[in-house]
């Protein structure tokens, strides 16, 4: 009987070998695919198995925390220092609902899984040190951020502040905001908060500063003025325009009106038109320059560019490439099809303040490993030469005049040179919605420090008449500029 027994032995050996080959296939060849399978919840738990790195503001103070909660599934939980204030920047990092904004974009560094941290991690593993994520250092100025958030208060809106010389974003606020800590975990409370926030008609989780586009209204008149100077239509801010008393949109019977009939807009100088924010003057300039020239100028300021990442992707601001003459007239005063994010209008103000050089806006200054080694550092980059330095000078004079003599008086700050432009943008079907109040501005300190700010307020008042950029948005911009340049 030994011969068949030997054959049975071989058969059993084959069975065991088959198992060995199979397990080599699954755990060797296919291992990575199974490990990184989207349904493999281990990856979710790994993310919170060790302290996550922090997001840090310019002064060096962290605005995030990683709390040791020692759950069976998750060892750590994300929390935020003053969550609602920073949420438009940090986004959320939730065990149940994923990540967003910087928490998502810098996840590699924060979670420590970035390949540039590989050497560090390997060393830590060998020395038995707990794995830890790296930090992300932002350009944010805590004072400016707080000032903007407090000034916006209960109003719905957004504020963006940029350092014109570098493009560094100093403040990025969106209200109403939310506390990402409310749904950082996986419990029932977290789920309730998540559902509540998503169902909220005020959309607290919408990043209005970067992701919402508004009609820019009169603030866009600076772009129109820039196009006029750049194309040689006017040489000087004192040049008199040939604006009629009643300007009828080209090829229509529709008369374009100004905010009030007694404004000195007929045959006004460019400066006066800007001071009083004359629709007729800039509508006519835009219509006569034509859509193409207007679009080119707008694009040099950053419109129609879907690739503005700070690194959070900003929505594309829009100036229509083709429009009828009457449409272009309306586009040129920031109505009709023109749309801009608050970031975009801050970029316009920054380019003007920086003598026409538009710097690429950025939020992340530095990424570093947990041992503080720098992994990457932002290098400043010019996005475009939006206007010539000469044109920029003229635009600055216009903006400073608006704050001195015009609609932007509420933005004046003692000891600082402030330029600004108000805007009250109509929107909705037949302009039925309450108008948006805009203010875009810059301030320069005597020592050369600068800040450019754009503020939009969506529903500053229930009374239509009380909504104006100068009244609602300018004080907010003022508070931000003051805080940003305050020593």
């Amino acid at each position: 009987m030994n011969k068949p027994i030997r054959r049975v032995s071989i058969f059993c050996l084959v069975l065991v070998l088959a198992l060995m080959v199979r397990v080599n296939w699954v755990q060797g060849v296919q291992a990575e695919a199974w490990a990184s399978n989207t349904h493999n919840d281990r990856n979710k738990y790994d993310r919170y198995a060790y302290p996550r790195g922090n997001i840090i503001v310019a002064g060096g103070q962290p605005i995030t925390k990683s709390d040791f909660v020692n759950g069976y599934r998750y060892k750590y939980k994300r929390s935020w220092v003053d969550g609602p204030l920073w949420a438009p920047v940090t986004g959320y990092s939730s065990q149940a609902f994923g990540t967003s904004q910087l928490e998502s974009l810098s996840d590699g560094i924060l979670s420590g899984s970035d390949s540039r941290l590989f050497f560090r991690n390997t060393l830590d593993m060998m020395t038995g040190k707990e794995k830890q994520g790296g930090d992300v250092v932002t350009t944010l100025n805590a004072k400016a951020q707080k000032a903007a958030y407090d000034a916006l208060g209960a109003k719905k809106g957004a504020a963006v502040a940029i350092d014109p010389r570098t493009g560094a974003i100093l403040a990025l606020v969106s209200t109403p905001s939310y506390d990402p800590g409310r749904f950082a975990g996986t419990g029932g409370e977290d789920e309730k908060a998540w559902k509540e926030l998503n169902a909220d008609p005020n959309k607290p989780m919408l990043n209005r500063a970067l992701r919402e586009t508004y009609p820019p209204g009169s603030t866009f008149k600076l772009v129109t003025a820039a196009a006029a100077f750049e194309n040689g239509r006017y040489q000087n801010i004192e040049d008199v325009t040939d604006t009629p008393d009643h300007y009828v949109l080209p090829n229509t019977n529709v008369e374009l009106k100004n905010a009030s009939a007694d404004e000195p807009c007929a045959k006004a100088t460019v400066k006066t038109a800007m001071d009083f924010s004359c629709n007729t003057v800039f509508g006519k300039i835009g219509a006569e320059l034509g859509g193409e020239k207007m679009r080119t100028q707008a694009e040099r300021f950053g419109f129609n560019n879907p690739g503005i990442n700070v690194p959070i992707r900003a929505s594309e601001s829009y100036f229509p490439p083709k429009s009828s003459a009457d449409g272009t007239a309306m586009d040129s005063i920031g109505q009709h099809d023109t749309r801009a994010t608050p970031l975009q209008m801050a970029m316009v103000a920054a380019a003007i303040a920086n003598d026409g050089r538009l710097m690429a806006p950025y939020l992340v200054d530095e990424e570093r490993a947990s041992n503080l080694t720098t992994i990457s550092k932002h290098s400043e980059r010019q996005l475009s030469q939006a206007v010539s330095p000469a044109t920029a000078q003229k635009l600055q004079q216009l903006m400073e005049s608006v704050v001195q003599n015009g609609t932007g008086k509420k933005a004046q700050i003692d000891g600082l040179k402030v330029g600004g432009k108000t805007g009250t943008a109509q929107h909705g079907e037949n302009n039925a919605g309450l108008p948006f109040a805009w203010f875009m501005s810059y301030a320069k300190a005597p020592d050369g420090r600068q800040v450019a700010v754009a503020v939009v307020v969506e529903d500053g008042s229930t009374e239509r008449e009380q909504i104006s950029g100068g009244g609602l948005a300018a004080p907010i911009a003022k508070a931000v500029m003051k805080a940003a340049l305050d020593r």
Binding site: L13, V23, Q27, A31, A33, A35, H39
Partner: protein, 484 residues
């Protein structure tokens, strides 16, 4: 090297009845067994410490008690071996102890996963109790079973007992948590899985019957289409028993066991008759049987679907019957990779309810990695190899058949479970011998090892064997004296 030398001689002696093995005067290897046993107790203790350190940051409080308990059990078993089976194979007891110990550690580790494992009630203490019972039964068999050939007397009683055991679960109501398989007998909170015991008892019947009928089966046959078919009166009874057991199992939807019993039957028939035609018959019948069951049983179809597409249950709108288990286990294996996460540091509780039982191999795969899995398969492979080695060395045909049957049943069970869990073959739902949670399986496999050891003791005994009916003790004494 006494074992390899005796093994080297038997294949060359073609005539079984006249096989003689010259006394070698070689050591009986009990000291080897003791050293290996010490290793088999210490290794799980270290694993136990590892889990404690990884999960709580300190050594488990029960470590000393556990170590002493396992050590004491192993020591008693070893001493009983020295007295009652001094020439038995030195590897089998340590191998079983090691696997049992590792399984205990993993079950304890999964107990600690707490609420992460739905319906998680502590199982380690129960498993420890069953281990003790298993070793007790092992000791009992080694002590009481003077000679394995005594079992031959119970051939037909075995048949009846096996059929009764197999049929019994059908009379007990099935529960939801058994997931379609009716394989338990229940008395209150206490339940046993008779299939595990039937595996051994049926092997005894097959061995006894085939030993008597093998000449008739092999020789008194008619040639038909190039193959030898035995006479119905020789083959009939065994076919009937085998068919009955398969039918019962199919009725109880215990597919793993029906495959196991089928394979066992074919292997034993082949070994007994030395006719290759049985393999061909076996293959043909298994293919047709599998096709029949696969098309008629919805339970089987579900499992084949899960095997073909393990991630189906994760897709949107999965079919109601789809199960996550295979996919979860494969992800556990993949996440373990080559070296594993380390004991206590994996997340195999994601496999959920069967993580401690049918799918415990997934937990090992994640925490010990490919390296650990290869080691575990080697341990199983060694058990099978030692069993088959015993079969080769044994001089009596009943012992040969019994050893071959028990070993190949063990091998088939390991293959069916591990193959199912790793996605090599469709899952059929059986327990991993020694590792998995479950009292019946543990106790039955300890008994299986005990019988194998008794056979190997008689196979490696240097002196000529006494007749089965005479007392063994009388024969043992002079041998010992000769050795001393």
């Amino acid at each position: 090297m006494s074992s390899s030398q005796t093994g080297g001689e038997s294949p060359r002696t073609k005539r079984r009845e006249n096989t003689t093995i010259t006394p070698q005067g070689a050591p009986n290897r009990r000291n080897t067994e003791l050293v290996l046993l010490a290793f088999a107790v210490v290794l799980p203790m270290l694993a136990y410490a590892n889990v404690g350190l990884a999960m709580d940051g300190k050594l488990p409080s029960g470590m000393l008690g556990y170590g002493l308990g396992m050590g004491a059990l192993a020591l008693v078993a070893h001493l009983v071996m020295r007295r009652f089976a001094p020439y038995a194979d030195p590897l089998l007891l340590p191998l079983a102890t090691l696997l049992n110990g590792l399984g205990l550690v993993m079950i304890w580790r999964l107990d600690k996963a707490g609420s992460l494992l739905r319906k998680n009630f502590p199982a380690a203490s129960n498993q420890l109790m069953w281990s003790a019972l298993g070793v007790a039964l092992f000791i009992g068999v080694v002590m009481v079973l003077k000679d394995h050939r005594i079992l031959q007397r119970y051939t037909y009683i075995s048949m009846v007992v096996a059929l009764v055991l197999l049929a019994a679960p059908a009379f007990f109501p099935s529960r939801d948590e058994d997931f379609g398989a009716k394989i338990w007998i229940r008395f209150g909170s206490f339940s046993i899985q008779p299939g595990e015991f039937a595996k051994i008892i049926l092997t005894v019947f097959f061995a006894g019957y085939l030993m008597v009928k093998r000449d008739a089966l092999a020789l008194a046959s008619r040639r038909f289409m190039g193959m030898y078919l035995p006479r119905g009166r020789d083959l009939g009874p065994i076919i009937v028993v085998w068919l009955l057991s398969i039918l019962i199992l199919v009725f109880e939807t215990d597919l793993g066991s029906s495959f196991l019993f089928f394979g066992l039957f074919v292997v034993m028939l082949y070994v007994a008759t030395e006719r290759t035609s049985w393999i061909v018959f076996g293959l043909l019948m298994s293919i047709s049987g599998a096709a029949l069951v696969a098309t008629s049983e919805p339970h089987v179809k579900t499992r084949i679907d899960a095997w073909l597409d393990p991630m189906r249950a994760f897709a949107p709108n999965p079919p109601k019957t789809a199960t996550e288990q295979i996919g979860q286990t494969l992800m556990a294996f993949g996440s373990g990779g080559t070296t594993g996460t380390g004991l206590g540091q994996g997340r195999s509780w994601l496999i959920q309810f069967a993580a401690k039982s049918d799918f415990i191999l997934g937990s090992f795969g994640e925490e010990l990695g490919l390296t650990g899995m290869m080691a575990i398969f080697l341990l199983y492979g060694l058990i099978v190899q030692r069993g088959l080695r015993t079969a080769v060395a044994t001089r009596d045909p009943f012992g040969k058949l019994l050893a071959v049957g028990l070993s190949s049943a063990f091998a088939l069970q390991v293959f069916v479970v591990a193959g199912g869990v790793t996605g090599l073959i469709p899952l059929t739902g059986m327990t991993m011998p020694f590792l998995a949670q479950g009292g019946s399986s543990l106790v039955a496999n300890w008994a299986l090892i005990a019988i194998l050891l008794k056979i190997s003791d008689s196979a490696r005994r240097p002196a000529a064997e006494p007749a089965p009916t005479t007392t063994v003790d009388g024969a043992t004494e002079p041998t010992r004296g000769a050795l001393a």
